[in-house]
Symmetry: C2
Subunit: 171 residues, 2 copies
């Protein structure tokens, strides 16, 4: 798909077809995250890719808003190291945001929808994912083919007016 179409077709998808993502496509999504930039190239992340249905069901219990994880074809857990300061924590999250969008656009390019989830129950997340101490699961990013029809470029996304958001030269 053309890049601009993939960027415009990406949207949050919570209802998925019962259709697996091919290993090739999942590898590409993960590679997109792996490639993304980070502060001083520190790559402050690990990605745990979950595709087992029973494990996905368990993982969907880490937050009240994570129900879509249970029916996703794959969910990537974003694992972050313990931060040294609030500034460091914010910097890590910024980099995780970059990795997330990279994976989401790579997915949209293959017709695959995606959705974020917070993680409230860190103990449950650790039991399921097995990440070591001094790490936590920052977010989940789920992937799957949209049940509501294929991804298409969105002409009028639900966003604040452009001229409120974009300033030229000065605010």
């Amino acid at each position: 798909m053309e890049t601009w179409d993939a960027i415009r077709a990406r949207r949050n998808v919570r209802d998925y077809l019962d259709r697996p993502i091919s290993d090739e496509d999942l590898d590409r999504i993960l590679e997109a995250g792996w490639r993304s930039p980070s502060s001083r190239n520190e790559q402050p992340w690990a990605f745990v890719a979950v595709t087992d249905r029973e494990q996905l069901r368990e993982l969907s219990k880490v937050w009240r808003g994570a129900g879509h994880v249970a029916t996703s074809a794959a969910t990537v857990a974003l694992i972050e190291p313990e931060a040294e300061s609030p500034e460091h924590a914010a910097s890590i999250r910024y980099d995780l945001g970059q990795a997330t969008l990279s994976m989401m656009v790579a997915a949209a390019d293959r017709g695959i929808g995606s959705c974020h989830s917070s993680v409230a129950d860190q103990d449950l997340a650790r039991t399921i994912l097995g990440h070591p101490e001094r790490h936590r699961c920052a977010l989940l990013v789920s992937f799957g083919y949209p049940a509501g029809g294929p991804l298409r470029p969105i002409i009028h996304p639900d966003r604040r007016p452009m001229d409120e958001v974009v300033h030229r030269g000065r605010w």
Copy 2:
């Protein structure tokens, strides 16, 4: 450009040709940021796009590592609201990270390189950019055509080994 090529061609570029970015391409880069997802669709950002050479030179003084801003064709300042808590601050930065990568991939698709910069001198940034109180300039993202030759998909990016970063099922 194909999406996967744009994702693989994106790289940090600090040396730019003396060549402007067309209004159409800059608008597309900004639209890519505007479209990006955010927690509860709050869109906790404003983007100030700077293209005036003298203003870019001034802006390059906000951090010792921001020299490339001076010679960029355009720099987009990411303005964030005051956070209510450290968790909120991290969430805002995560969303800014998503917007950043979206803009960078849209730029790479048009052959345009990009580079981040921190902002140390918030007072100077405010004088130059004019954003209101209770907002700060979180980061700068610069854009321009690479002096070192066109962007091409990078086959072996400088990253940690994939199997250190990506885990399957469990860490």
